[in-house]
Structures are given as C-alpha cells and as structure tokens.
Symmetry: C2
Subunit: 315 residues, 2 copies
C-alpha cells in the first residue's frame, strides 16, 4: 500500500496545532509520518516514557525525538516511573498508565494552548475494544469514538482517532513501503492480559470459526450502534419530555417506548449534574413512572428524584 488517505487528514485544518501521542511503536509512528505527509506542520509530538522498558525506553525516546525533529515538529517528552505512580495511586498498572498519559497531555495542552489531541488507535484496536465491551456487558456493542472529549484537571481535551478506520496490517504495509522506522513497543500492552488474550486468542478463534474477518463485522455493528444513538437524540428532541419549569413530564414519558424512557431519564439526570447512575438505580427511577410505586428515590449526592403532580423533579 503506497498511500493511506483517511478522510480526517483531508478534512482537518492544516493551520491548526495538534498534540500527538507518540510512543515510538508502529501505530503512533505511522500517525506521525501521516501527519507530515498530509501537510500538517503545527504538530507537537508528546512522548511519555513510562519507565517500564529500561534500555529500550531510551531507544524509543531517541527515535521519536530524532524523527520529530527531522520532520520539523516540536517534541515534548517526559519520563516517569509508572511502577511508583501505581503504588502511590493504588491503581492497576494499566489505569495508572492511562492517568499518567492524561496528565501529560493536559500539561502539554496548557503549555501549547492546544486542546486537540490525536491518538493512533486503529481498526484492530477498535475491534478488540468492541469485543471487550460486549464481553464485560457494560456498553453493549460499542467502541472508541472518532472524536470524544476528555476532562482532565479542569481542561477539556478533544481526542481524535484518525486511524480508527485503518487496519494495522495496512499501516504496517504503508510504513514498510515508505521505509519508515518504528520500535517494537508493546510496553503499554504487556501488562494488559485481557487485551492480549482478546487479540491473540479470542479474535483469531472467532475468525477461524466464522471463516471471515470478524473484527470488520464488529466495527460495522458498532458503527450502526453509534448511528442509533443519533436516532435517540432526535427522538428525545421530538418527544420534548421536559416541561417549562425544567421538570420531567410523566404524561409524555409514559407515551414513550421503554428504551426512550430510559434515555430521557438519563439525559434529565445528567442535565441536573447527577452522574454515576447505575442500571439498578435507573430501573428504580423508571419504576416511579407507575403511580403505584413510592414517589421518591434516593440519588447520589444526598439528592432525591421525586414524583408529584405528574412530574419528576430533583430535590
């Protein structure tokens, strides 16, 4: 493959500045070269050394620094000892790594007055994420977003993933045909047993059983799921369940299909800054649609959802 041309690179403004997370591995190095090839010049390459790979870390940092400089990009790098961070925070190595990267991006974002962060997740990462979400049952058939927001230390970063539509094999072929170097860097994966097993055992087995590319099908299913969420937003707009006083109108709510009731209630609670609504709590709140159920449910933060005069409101 001689050229990779996902729409993001065509459509994004070349005059804006971007922060790039670059580890030195195949995926993020491909992102680095693609940015240059497509004419982006205001690029800040952000390299965080997790301090987990000893000598190899030095090689990673050196390659990233050298190539960033050669391409005329700015380099921001930092070194930490993730094992120490992990012990300090009590988090798993994976979570501690993610939090450290977020902090690092926030720091770079402040310094360079730039909230646009690009990450190098590709379609194979996406398929793994979707399968894992299905397996653990937390988000249905859902993957990473092309574009999402990340709140960290009072900043809201805009996370874009321009490679999400590209297979890893295509990235590698492109890198090879262009003689671009990268480092075999699996440091951020080594400790992620679940991810590794999904990639190395589960997806290959599913491909073999189905005799087709299951990852691609998962990605398509998740894309449909994403488009479905736009229909929910549209339907909520049509339904208008919020009355002029900002309360939830039960007559309207009762006329909606159950899944839309749930979505309307979640949106209402979110608009009232009530987060952390789990499945059981949502069910309790929805049960209050029946006049035969007690007219009040406790919410996080010492609040209550109350039913009175045909309305739900927060107290």
């Amino acid at each position: 493959m001689d050229s990779l041309d996902p729409s993001w690179f065509r459509e994004a403004s070349k005059r804006k500045r971007y922060l790039l997370g670059v580890s030195g591995g195949l995926d993020s190095m491909a992102l680095l070269y693609l940015m240059h090839e497509h004419g982006f010049r205001e690029v800040v390459v952000c390299h965080l050394d997790h301090g987990l790979r000893g000598e190899a870390s030095i090689g990673d940092a050196r390659l990233v620094g050298k190539e960033a400089e050669r391409l005329g990009f700015t380099i921001e790098s930092e070194k930490l000892d993730l094992r120490v961070e992990m012990l300090k925070s009590g988090e798993s190595l994976e979570t501690a790594g993610r939090l450290a990267r977020h902090d690092f991006f926030a720091k770079c974002a402040r310094k360079w007055r730039c909230k646009r962060v690009l990450l190098a997740h590709h379609m194979d990462d996406q398929a793994e994420t979707i399968l894992w979400n299905l397996m653990r049952g937390s988000h249905g058939c859902r993957g990473m977003s092309d574009l999402s927001e990340l709140k960290v230390k009072g900043l809201t970063l805009e996370i874009s993933r321009p490679l999400l539509g590209i297979r890893k094999a295509d990235l590698q072929a492109w890198m090879e045909s262009n003689h671009h170097p990268w480092r075999e860097d699996e440091s951020n994966r080594v400790n992620d047993v679940v991810r590794n097993r999904i990639r190395n055992e589960a997806l290959p087995l599913l491909n073999a059983i189905a005799k087709r590319d299951v990852g691609k099908n998962l990605v398509r299913a998740a894309r449909n799921d994403q488009e479905t969420r736009a229909v929910f937003e549209w339907a909520l707009e049509k339904a208008q369940p919020i009355d002029p006083q900002g309360r939830l109108h039960l007559g309207v709510m009762r006329s909606l299909p159950p899944a839309l009731q749930a979505h309307a209630l979640l949106s209402f609670l979110k608009s009232q800054h009530i987060a952390a609504i789990d499945h059981a709590l949502l069910e309790s709140c929805l049960a209050m649609l029946s006049p035969h159920v007690a007219a009040s449910v406790n919410l996080p933060g010492n609040l209550r959802l109350r039913r009175r005069a045909g309305r739900f409101f927060i107290e």
Copy 2:
C-alpha cells in the same frame, strides 16, 4: 432448582391449543413437562424423526410418544430421511432440516387448526445465536425473538420461545430434581460445526478471558438492541415521512438522522412489497436523497425507485 416460572407460562392462555416441537432432548422435553406443570392441556406434541440417528431415533420417538400420552397430550410424529431431502433440495443438512421442520409444523398446523408453535430454545442457544450474528456481521447484536412470525406454505405460524430467558443448566437442574427423563439428542447439532465451535470453544474462551458470564451479557446487549428497534418505530411514527399519496417525502427524510432515514426507506419499500433489499441497494436508494444523484434506482422485480417533485415513489 425446584420450579421454573418464566412469565410466558403464567401469561399465555391455558384454553388455547399449542403445537410443541419436541425432539426428545433435554430442552424440548423440559418444555413438554413445563407445559403440563403450568396447566396447559390442549397441547399437540410434534416429533419429526430426521432419520439420522438410526436405532437412537426409535428410542427418541418412543420416549416422546410415551411421555406425551402419559401427560394427556396429543402426539403427531413423522419420519423422513433428511439425507435424501438434502440431496433433493441441494441445501446443507442444517438448512434441509430446518425446512423439513417448517413443513412438518405447517402440516400439523393445518390438521389441528392451530398456528401457535412453541420452540424450546433457551438462553444458551440465544447467546450462541447472538455471537454468531455478530461474527458473521449480518444482523448486528441480535438474537432470536421471543415471538416471531414464520410464513410457510401459505400459512403464517406464530413462533414463541418461552424458555429464551432460562439457562440450560437451570433446565437440566429442574429436570433432574423432578426426575423427568430425556434423551441425549444432539442429532440436529452434530452437523452444525459452527454452532458447536461457538458453544464448545468460543464462549468458554470468552468467559475465561473476561472472568464472567459473557453469554448473559450478550443476551442483555441483544435485548437492548431489540428495545432500540421499538424506538425506531416510535420515531418513524413521529416523523411521518409518507405523504397522503403514499410517497416518501424527501423534505421530511432529509431532516432525519441517517439511521432513521435508512429505517424509513426500508419500511417504505417493505410496505410496497419489495423485499430482498441488500446493504448496497439501500445505500444507492439513500444516495438519491441528494438532488445531484441520478433520480432513479433499479429495484428487484423489474421495479424502480424514482425521485420527482420532492418525493420517492415506486414505478
């Protein structure tokens, strides 16, 4: 487990007649006894011998006949040679088996003037179906319906699956604690390599990786997906994209989110008795929403979808 009490058995009318597909295996024998335990009396037990298991087939038929009689149910049984059917029809053994069962149910339905057919698929079957649909990418995250319609030989059968919410292990525990007999009958599965591998390899591996019951999570995700379809129906009702002349109004269509556009168009084509719309054809039709695209697309059955005066219509 001493009692199994899915809502279907409580809610279904005891005065109506039901056709039961009973092979003699655990699942369908459990269905048989559950019908009796819950007070259903107008039950026609339909047993089709596929002629694949030799001596064992005779034992299956004998057990089903004996137990049906003991419970006071009617028995309908038929024997065929599925291998011959397969060669005649050119279908796979699995497909030929399914078609033969459909024909047999249609015959029983006519004889007993009863369109209600009960099948014994349980939650483990459902999880396998959902995973397989995800793997082959044909239906997103979707399983079998609790209630569906099946058109066969001019009849419309109502297929219900009352056990879809019950784990196979719970069925087995219930059968054992009640000392109900069944036959180890995997004849309808032996030749289904994909199903077997999903059940015996894929799901156990996913469970082991996730350290949780992945099947249950898949079933929940599919249930959410099913509820989502009700939201699409509701939204379509609100959108009213059909004009008084029964044509599709493009102004309305263009105001809808893409997934709802697709749903509206599919519903429109279906209402015009145009079936067999594949993904590519749907995309071509949707592309016609743009005034810059040619105003006509060929449809199956020598028909066309045309765009004129702000409307889509069939010609």
